[in-house]
């Protein structure tokens, strides 16, 4: 237990006044000196803080998705019969974790035999994370004695952040196979779509008998036709097309991959033929079944940001202007402005571009896809919201405006954009997008 020097000034002042009071015979000075000396004395005899305490850490979710907040709760229990008047806890968090709510530190007091809790929220990028030791500083009531402990709390010590499944709505460009993607066409299905005049040959089980009873006219119920679609997810894996999160947390690349993975698996489960392409040249043909699923997983797992991409203008450019990044780039990537990829996309195939939209290049490419007759959607994590910071810098605000302009430009060309605000779950934005399409 280390003594803390907080009262030197009062002690010196008290002694000085005592000496002065005695020397000049001013009794009154002694009373002021006595106050200082007695307070210093009382503070000095204050009991040292107890070391009988227990700390437990729990997490609201040990397998969160990237960007999903996780609540960490610390429960502090005083096992002694004396109060813990000053307990200062600091979590040693891995650098890539960002605290988005409250604080990973706390200063508290715990009554004898009592307990208290402290909660805070973090968000994490992809990966496995191990909590470090908790630094616990204890002081006595007068704050004249203090010590620091490094404690490993009971409970959860690690967690994993990984991609999981969710549904991604797709647009009305389908192929002639039955699937689970709803269309704006009536036909066989389960969800009510409309009624129409009876035509000879309509199945009896689709005649609206209630309508017939009321009006005496025959009408046929149509259900929302569910068709399968061919979808190719294009993952923007250009290093230049990604940014770090403002205030820390998962990068835009992590979130883009997460969004793409959720969409792909859902698409597969809906019976859609699903493929993937990356701008670094990886390609998986649209398909269904386990083989396609494993190929898609391979692409997602091996994806990393690259310096050179297919949508760069051409190889020839780099020979004229030597460029460090270009020289380090993968020579297998044949940059042709993305033309080869465009030709490779299946006819009638939908394209979902997954990108944070931090540059104009990807917007141009989306327009190009659209002009080749593909229904294009863009799934974009918004990296300009800054979850871990209170206010945005001027530069960040400019970035926000420019991204908004890109989204407006895309929407102006009838390209649906799912603008994923990181403060809300991805699913919410996807559902909004689906509602927009339905209207």
């Amino acid at each position: 237990m280390k003594p803390l020097s907080r009262w030197h000034g009062a002690l010196i002042g008290g002694l000085l006044l005592t000496v002065l009071g005695v020397l000049i015979g001013a009794e009154g000075l002694l009373v002021v000196a006595l106050v200082a000396l007695l307070v210093v004395g009382l503070a000095r005899v204050s009991f040292p803080p107890s070391d009988s305490y227990r700390i437990e850490r729990t997490l609201s979710n040990t397998r969160p998705n990237p960007g999903e907040p996780v609540t960490v709760t610390l429960r502090i229990e005083n096992e002694s019969r004396r109060m813990l008047p000053d307990l200062r806890l600091t979590e040693d968090l891995p650098e890539s974790l960002t605290v988005v709510s409250s604080s990973s530190s706390v200063g508290t007091a715990v009554p004898p035999g009592g307990e208290t809790t402290h909660s805070y929220e973090i968000i994490a990028p992809r990966g496995e994370f191990v909590f470090g030791d908790l630094t616990v500083r204890r002081r006595n009531l007068a704050s004249t004695l203090g010590t620091a402990d490094f404690v490993t709390p009971e409970g959860t010590t690690q967690f994993t952040c990984e991609t999981l499944i969710d549904s991604l709505p797709l647009r009305q460009q389908t192929i002639q196979f039955v699937g689970e993607t709803p269309t704006n066409q009536g036909g066989a299905g389960v969800e009510f779509f409309s009624t129409r005049e009876y035509r000879p040959g309509d199945p009896l089980n689709r005649i609206d008998w209630n309508q017939y009873a009321r009006s005496g006219t025959l009408s046929t119920v149509e259900y929302r036709l569910e068709r399968a679609v061919t979808v190719v997810f294009i993952i923007d894996d250009r290093a230049a097309g990604h940014v770090n999160a403002i205030g820390g947390g998962p990068t835009s690349f992590d979130l883009t991959l997460y969004a793409a993975a959720r969409g792909m698996v859902t698409s597969l489960e809906d019976g859609n033929e699903t493929g993937v392409a990356t701008l670094s040249g990886q390609w998986v043909d649209p398909g269904v079944g386990e083989r396609t699923r494993s190929l898609l997983e391979e692409v997602v797992e091996s994806a990393e940001p690259v310096d050179r991409s297919l949508i760069d203008s051409s190889d020839g450019d780099t020979t004229d202007e030597p460029d460090t990044d270009a020289n380090d780039a993968d020579p297998a990537v044949a940059a042709d402005g993305g033309m080869e990829l465009l030709h490779r996309l299946p006819e009638n195939g939908q394209v979902v571009i997954c990108s944070p939209l931090v540059d104009d290049e990807i917007v141009e490419y989306a327009k190009q896809c659209s002009s080749y007759g593909h229904a294009v959607s863009v799934l974009s994590p918004d990296m300009t919201t800054g979850r871990g910071v209170e206010s945005l810098s001027m530069g960040n605000r400019v970035g926000q405006l420019r991204r908004q302009q890109r989204i407006t430009a895309l929407r102006g060309r009838n390209t649906a954009v799912a603008d994923w605000n990181l403060r809300e779950p991805l699913l919410l934005e996807l559902q909004r997008l689906q509602r927009r399409w339905a209207t």
Binding site: L16, V19, P85, S105, A109
Partner: protein
């Protein structure tokens, strides 16, 4: 439809007014944002310290020097804190407003000094302590109002002083512009300026036995301080070969440590001898204070030689009373200030000429703009008559005559310049206090508030208010305890973690044992102290031992820090 070109737009007076309005609104909103951020950053402990300090200042001040004195002290503390904060703002508009606010600081400082002088002349020996009590109230209020800022750096004080000096230059420029076109006034102003300059020089070089000892040590401390600042700036070690650098750095470090100690020592000697000489000059030699004056008069240089043994005494008096040495020390101080200003100007120019001009223009404009309302008010409220009546005896008659002759607006501007000078003197006093006491970096405001309250307690005892003294002393210790606790929480737990529970428990504990200390001290004082009547020899022995103990504690403290 007509097209408006940029040149046309700029000449439109409305657009200039709009721009000015926009700039002012922007300055106001940014200031409000900063204030809001500062207030939100305050924790329970900060609020507790601030409110307790202000509460005690209000109660003790009213009991001590009445409502007017208390209000004066709180107002002085508030304007001093505002001056310090606003003149250190990065926004030029806020800086210029800070210069305007400093005029109020100067006015309140003048009022406090006048009040203290009045008490001193009315009540003699105890009046000095009552005066110190008022000054302590101002210090405590300043500490409380600086609570949201927390640290009080000498650099910030120096920056404020520099800006106010530039503000004075602005006011002088305004006076010059108003006076220069009129030949008669111009001649009169020249005469007044020369006479004032002569008076200032002769006052500075004066070796009157009444103040020679104290002013010499002030001058010595100033010269050592500024020399040290230059030493810090000069890259001496870089001029040496690599193998000698470490020894040079060690030597410079050693010199700097001793220089700092000498500066503090000189200031302490100057303050103690200054107070003693002030007592000697102002306290009437009645029966109550006669014993004290026997000692204080020994500090006069004409008496000192008779007390201190022959070779040392003569040498000491010769050094302290040497005008040549004083002139040399002044030369060192002014030269050092000049070099430091040149360094600062070069540093500023590195950031761009426009930036430098904006920084210089802000306090100039602040001084000039603030002079206008003061100048107008000066005529209406006959400030010049009041100022000339209250002028000290040594004021050159040419200056008084000039002030009486010039238009009231100009005279008002001169008064504004004088008030700015008083504000600078107040800031310098704060700087001296920060140098002598060594305010902690992260708890400067708390320390200032606590020291101020402790000073009030000491003064209350001397003016025979022991119960009030006990309460204020306990409050001073409580303010320090809770404020310092909050500062360590802030250091150890950065950001804004929840700490309310720990702070509440600590504040409750602090209130408990400070109250217990106060009650215990009061009981001991009432019951035990009257029983103790030690003989003179024992008092001397106690005094010696106590002084040694304090010296040992001080040495320990300096070593630990």
């Amino acid at each position: 439809m007509s097209i408006q070109f940029p040149s046309q737009q700029s000449s439109d007076p409305n657009s200039t007014v709009d721009r000015l309005r926009t700039g002012l609104l922007s300055a106001a909103s940014s200031t409000m944002a900063i204030l809001r951020a500062r207030f939100y950053s305050l924790r329970f402990g900060d609020w507790f310290s601030i409110l307790l300090t202000l509460g005690v200042v209000a109660v003790a001040g009213t009991a001590f020097v009445g409502m007017t004195g208390a209000l004066l002290a709180v107002g002085g503390g508030l304007t001093l804190a505002l001056t310090l904060v606003m003149t250190n703002s990065s926004n030029p508009l806020v800086t210029s407003l800070g210069v305007a606010v400093s005029i109020l600081t100067g006015a309140l400082a003048a009022a406090v000094v006048g009040f203290v002088a009045y008490i001193l002349l009315q009540t003699g020996f105890s009046g000095l302590f009552a005066g110190l009590g008022v000054v302590s109230l101002v210090i405590a209020s300043t500490g409380a109002f600086l609570g949201p800022i927390r640290s009080i750096s000498r650099l910030a004080i120096a920056r404020s002083t520099l800006l106010l000096t530039v503000g004075i230059v602005g006011v002088a420029g305004l006076v010059g512009v108003l006076v220069a076109p009129r030949a008669e006034l111009r001649a009169q102003a020249t005469e007044a300026g020369v006479a004032t300059g002569q008076t200032v020089v002769s006052t500075l070089l004066s070796v009157d036995p009444m103040h020679a000892l104290s002013t010499f040590f002030v001058l010595l401390a100033a010269a050592l301080f500024f020399l040290g600042r230059i030493m810090v700036r000069l890259p001496v070690e870089r001029l040496l070969p690599a193998d000698r650098r470490s020894s040079a750095v060690a030597a410079i470090g050693w010199v700097q440590r001793w220089r700092v100690t000498l500066v503090r020592g000189s200031l302490v000697v100057a303050i103690v001898t200054g107070m003693a000489l002030l007592l000697d000059a102002t306290v009437p030699p009645d029966e109550g204070a006669a014993w004290l004056l026997e000692y204080t008069q020994l500090l006069r240089t004409d008496q000192m030689a008779t007390v201190v043994p022959a070779p040392v005494g003569g040498f000491l008096v010769a050094v302290v009373s040497s005008q040549l040495l004083r002139a040399g020390l002044y030369a060192v101080v002014t030269g050092s200030i000049g070099v430091l200003l040149a360094f600062r100007l070069l540093g500023a120019l590195r950031q761009g000429l426009a930036w430098t001009l904006a920084k210089l223009a802000a306090p100039l404009a602040g001084g000039i703009v603030a002079s206008i309302p003061f100048g107008l008010l000066a005529g209406r409220f006959e400030v010049i008559e009041l100022a000339t009546d209250a002028a000290p005896a040594g004021t050159p008659p040419e200056l008084v005559e000039f002030l009486e002759t010039v238009p009231s607006f100009v005279a008002g501007a001169v008064v504004v310049g004088a008030l700015l000078g008083l504000a600078i003197a107040t800031l310098l006093a704060l700087g001296v206090l920060a140098t002598v006491i060594v305010l902690p970096a992260n708890t400067g405001s708390t320390a200032l508030a606590s020291i101020g309250l402790f000073g009030v307690a000491v003064a209350a005892v001397v003016v025979d208010l022991p119960l009030l003294a006990v309460g204020v002393a306990a409050a001073a210790l409580c303010v320090w305890d809770v404020g310092e606790f909050g500062a360590t929480l802030r250091t150890e737990l950065p950001g804004r973690p929840p700490t309310l529970r720990a702070e509440t428990v600590h504040a409750s504990g602090s209130l408990l044992y400070c109250s217990a200390g106060a009650v215990g001290a009061w009981l001991l004082y009432r019951l035990a102290v009257p029983q103790i009547q030690p003989p003179a020899a024992e008092i001397a022995a106690f005094g010696l031992l106590g002084s040694l103990g304090v010296a040992a504690l001080l040495a320990l403290l300096v070593r630990q820090s």
